[in-house]
Assembly symmetry: C2
Homo-oligomer: 361 residues x 2
Amino acid sequence: MRSPLLMIPGPTNLDPQVLEALSWPSIGHTSPEFHEEFNELLYLTAKLYKTKKENVIVYSGSGTLGMEGAVASLIEPDDKVLALITGYFGERFAEIAEIYGAKVKRLVYPSGHDVNPEDVKEALEKDEYKAILVTHIETTNGVYNRVEEVAKVARRYGVLIFVDVVSSLGGAPFYFDNDGYDVAFAGSQKCIAAPPGATLIAISDRAKEFLENRRTEIKSYYFNLKRWLKVMENPRIYLATPTIPILRATRIALKLLHKEGLENRWRRHEQMAKLVRKGLTELGLELKARRSSPTITVAKLGKPIAEKLQEYVLKKHNVLISTGIGGESKDVIRIGHMGIVNREMVELTLSAIEDALKNLN
Amino acid sequence: MRSPLLMIPGPTNLDPQVLEALSWPSIGHTSPEFHEEFNELLYLTAKLYKTKKENVIVYSGSGTLGMEGAVASLIEPDDKVLALITGYFGERFAEIAEIYGAKVKRLVYPSGHDVNPEDVKEALEKDEYKAILVTHIETTNGVYNRVEEVAKVARRYGVLIFVDVVSSLGGAPFYFDNDGYDVAFAGSQKCIAAPPGATLIAISDRAKEFLENRRTEIKSYYFNLKRWLKVMENPRIYLATPTIPILRATRIALKLLHKEGLENRWRRHEQMAKLVRKGLTELGLELKARRSSPTITVAKLGKPIAEKLQEYVLKKHNVLISTGIGGESKDVIRIGHMGIVNREMVELTLSAIEDALKNLN
């Protein structure tokens, strides 16, 4: 069987050039050749975040490892943190902050609702916080948060702002410097359309200062962004053996992304999202998110047939879509339209779902 | 330029079948296909450790991430730990234990000397410890520690024994169950001859019990082996997106390894090591390690020409060897003869070094 079209919220379909980079003969992580490539990867990552090269860190690991790096390095025991929770990954962000000793105040929204910046303002009026944790695009329900509005509030109150951009970076407008975020992290396997295994992090000068002035030592070896910043300056410093093939493939994926143009890419994602939303609502399905994202669309089926539908679409049409995560798994489908996804792929997916709905009724 | 022959202590040369697996079209980490492959990977890993499938954990990350997982999960604040240090990676092991709050007593050997089990006995007579940390083969100087002797002492005193097998697993005799280790971790990019990016961990029933009976919570999200054990039982549980291409390539590399036969492989590594040792001493170089390992050989040059020699051998013969790490970097060369390295590759390397020594004198 030929491999299925991936219409899931990552890993995504890979361009043949990215696949090819994966199987280049191995090189040493201490070779000048690899260091040159790594520096280009950092440069391309900075361009993606719209920040400077000195403010990005790339290391091996998924978005989760980026999240833990950000928290372990910038949160100290007893720090007060405001967590804005619009789904599973927002809750995980809060949970990791608690592991590192933060006192977390949760603002939990019903699944499908996005963060209201007014609530953030109110919370910051009432209490003092060191940091706000927020998810840009929530992978579980497709909710698209107005993080730039949250950042505006955070800056007004002098609070650090941490953003999970795992499912948005490269697929939705994000201006790290301009909108004044402090730390953000993404995974290679989402909108960048590289294989999983690299996390791309941006860190502000203000956050770097916090890093330097910590009261306590960072309680992890690998998740120590202070050490990683030194490796970024000089990739000859050894910290851990990097996942070389993934970093090389990510560099090629980023080159392709910038060749298309970041703004063009954002526009394409939005167009694909519109097609998906239109198609699904025409099929009688209701969208899960009030403010739906350009990279993931989640629709309610109205009955617990998600797994059956997934199986049908895969077997009959060779298209892979996702079911839900956790409690919501049975009656929602999640469609990723990120990375190199085009109109033809979206149309194929929609007609496959249409066929499935007809035959499963 | 064709890519160089890698004669470094990892990453190693890859078999074409392993390279090919890297560039298979992407699949989802939640697909049944991937779960089947992952289960086979666990089975092959258990066979490599000579333990049962229930006692292995594989997750994305290098050997360093395996080390931090073992320490974060099994060491608690104020635990007394005996660290046997025969080089850079032994010291790192101690350092990570300290990050997680251990009270570490260091037994430091001069570089080149291996651990004397009598010293361990003496230390355990004098004081009570929860665990011993030891490196099987020290990547920095090629020292080959008699960990099975250390394990014997540890068991007699009821102390947990943690072994770094990053540079030995698959390349040197290691019997996890039979010799009674408690936790061991390796990297995919060494003797297994897969690309970097997976860590292979073994954990004893006794260590699992300690895990269950911890006084305190594990202070990391990713490095929580309790969570990982559940994922190994059921790979459908989502913890973090795995580095799929690396895990697939590792599975293929392990299949090739077991096809050769683990014992045959150990024998081949020992044969290659003998050739290298003989060749280098005939060239007038002195070996760094008193007890040299079957996977890495480190030789003293007698003058600080390591980098020049490395460059010469690479440019003129397209063979990559390593210089030292840290303080010892300038007057030693490190040769990895692990994974798929054969007699022809060793001979090419030795003649390249001979040529370099002649021309750099």
